[in-house]
Symmetry: C2
Subunit: 367 residues, 2 copies
């Protein structure tokens, strides 16, 4: 088992990464003094529940915990105020109290939803993340929890740090390959924004990662989590540095919103977004290899890098205007300097971005 | 103008109390570096808006602020997830960004609602309280913000401290007398839990307070706020001490819920609750004068102290079981020791409470 700590003063918490951790789930709960007097509330989804819910419940029951579970529909649409309200109702009916703990068993959707429930139930109860996707190595670090508003993603939320993250890598074996690729997009992102060596390592180990080789995967997840943890430790509430984690996200979110949630996975959309950010950098004077290399690495993972032609550029631009990375009317854009380095441009011209979006539809720097 | 500070480390904030402060509202905003680049969002209600919204908007406009306003229905029913969602929609459509400030112009309902909007819009924006009720001297201190769930009051919320509280006492002149009385119930509570001298002062100045004599009122509000601030400073997140602020509230909330919101004002319900807590104390051995004195002081303000006979005791008891002051299955009850002193009983017998509720219907200690 690998253990790393997200350093946040009194809100610091460990991430445990390893195979088969869920077999011993109760010992982790006991270690973290999670009380047996108040019910636990597991939130999971329809794809995850059939594989893992029963085991988790049974192991916790055996140790003397009372467990209530809610299974939401798999998919982004469950990150809504309506589903959130259902969870609140269930929690109240089940008698959850201020000493209860909410558990997210699933990917980023369940993590964000359950986290927002934990953050706001009776003004905040404890929260444990049990990620079951690769993407969740990102979403389970940093305490951002949220639901979507019909007009914009992640608009309704707070910061609420978990007590611990229990990352049982065996659960990744049942993940559909498209989800594997999409999750690896965030892993590559962690290399691209912070650590050239890790970006190169991802490039070299793309095949083993896609094949879910346990050792390679555990190393990649640990490294990805630890990069995110370093950034979050320095800027918990996204005042400055933390914004670099949004590489590819301004455009990525706009793509998700314009295409309608469901056509692109989050990781796919930000892969296009990261290629776009590199193209923008080249437009602004960076060496063309920054774009071609970024694109090549992402494509090693079978990820899309070309802006879909059927998406209307004006609509995509409009969607970006609703995006929360626009601060005080200026468009903020995360732009790469080199592989492993980015900067935050707080004054990016909308016309330059528009131009990039158009060119990205060709997917070729020479057109 | 009186100024007091709620000491909460980096979250400390001032409360300004005085007549006519809203005439200079913009100078307070400038003093607190509230940006003119991002829109302000005022949330108020249908009773407050006709009196004060126009002036506030105009004064802010003149100083160069962009202002968006939402007027919700007056009343507790606006503290709902449905209205909260409408506020979020309005905020997004108006282009509120992370540097925007949300302003509560109104009583505790608008304060709690707007505070929860501020706390969760884009994971938290700045928040200014402009209380227009006496009760809000309580609700605007301490950062508790929330909306109600149909099954229980204040169930959905977080802690989110304001940047400042601007208490313009002239706004209290339009407050209906029943609301004045109800608000004074929380002022008396602050005396009863913490400061015998202040409780006696309230008793002696009941008439001037009810007549809204400016000097008397300003002193009472400052003192009430400062007692609450002292308690909150020592226990921001209600781990222990802060619970004493719930004197009268366990039963009060149950009365509100059982009668259906609307029959009793919050302050009226907790007045009955405070009389009940004193009766419980006497049942447990305190001197009978604790009950008769508490009752007499509350009645000086025209507040109810007798449990309404038409409320079913079992229903009231059930409503208490959903109340969040029950920690780990034990019933927590705030019990007075003497005028100005209370203790937290973490192991109160449900049967003793039930007995008290029954006796409180008679309103006489000798039956
Ligand atoms: N909070 C943050 O900091 C943060 C960061 C990045 C992304 N996110 C959010 O995360 C979400 C995306 O996360 P995601 O990609 O994990 O999505 P997800 O939770 O929807 O999971 C992807 C799909 O895989 C299924 N699944 C999950 N685990 C499985 C398993 N072990 N076996 C079989 N199927 C499984 C799910 O049911 C779903 O269909 C987005 O909502 C995004 O906004 C949040
Ligand atoms: N957050 C906290 O710590 C805290 C503490 C105590 C109470 N509360 C909450 O506060 C709420 C009760 O607050 P409230 O009593 O101020 O209720 P309120 O906001 O509903 O105001 C009472 C009534 O007076 C009207 N009104 C307000 N100001 C007016 C004015 N200046 N002139 C004319 N009419 C005016 C309102 O429209 C309403 O009809 C409850 O929801 C309670 O849960 C919160
Ligand atoms: Zn992401
Ligand atoms: Zn109250």
């Amino acid at each position: 088992m690998r253990t790393l700590t997200v350093e946040l003063g009194e809100r610091s918490y460990p991430i445990y990464i390893g195979q088969g951790l869920l077999q011993n789930i109760a010992s982790f709960f006991e270690k973290h003094q999670i009380t047996k007097k108040s019910p636990l509330f597991i939130i999971t989804d329809t794809h995850v529940a059939p594989h893992y819910l029963n085991d988790v419940e049974t192991n916790l029951h055996k140790a003397g915990y009372t467990v209530i579970s809610a299974v939401v529909e798999s998919g982004e649409q469950s990150k809504s105020l309506a589903v959130y309200e259902q969870m609140m109702t269930k929690a109240i009916e089940a008698g959850l109290d201020r000493s209860s703990t909410v558990i997210a068993l699933g990917g980023g959707v369940v993590g964000d939803l359950a986290g927002f429930v934990a953050a706001t139930y009776m003004r905040g109860v404890r929260f444990v993340q049990i990620p079951t996707t690769i993407l969740a190595h990102d979403s389970s670090v940093g305490g951002k929890v949220a639901v979507n508003h019909p007009l914009a993603k992640n608009m309704i939320g707070v910061f609420h740090q978990p007590v611990m993250v229990l990352y049982d890598t065996s659960t990744l074996q049942t993940l559909p390959i498209r989800e594997v690729r999409a999750g690896l997009a965030e892993m590559v992102k962690h290399g691209l924004i912070w650590d050239e060596a890790f970006a190169r390592w991802c490039d070299q180990h793309a095949e083993d990662l896609l094949a879910l080789d346990p050792e390679t995967l555990a190393y990649g997840l640990e490294k990805g989590c630890s990069i995110k943890a370093q950034i979050v430790s320095r800027d918990e509430r996204e005042n400055d540095l933390r914004a670099i984690l949004n590489l590819g996200h301004t455009l990525g979110h706009a793509i998700e919103a314009t295409a309608g949630y469901g056509e692109f996975l989050h990781g796919e959309a930000i892969s296009i977004g990261m290629a776009g950010a590199a193209l923008l950098a080249v437009q602004l004077g960076a060496d063309p290899s920054l774009y071609t290399e970024t694109k090549r690495i992402l494509e090693r993972f079978g990820l899309p890098t070309v802006m879909p032609k059927h998406l209307d550029t004006d609509q995509v631009m409009n969607a970006m205007m609703h995006d929360k990375k626009f601060k005080e009317g200026n468009m903020v854009y995360i732009v790469p300097k080199a592989i492993g380095q980015v900067y935050i441009d707080t004054n990016m011209k909308v016309s330059a971005v528009r131009n990039m979006v158009e060119r990205l539809k060709e997917g070729d720097i020479h057109v």
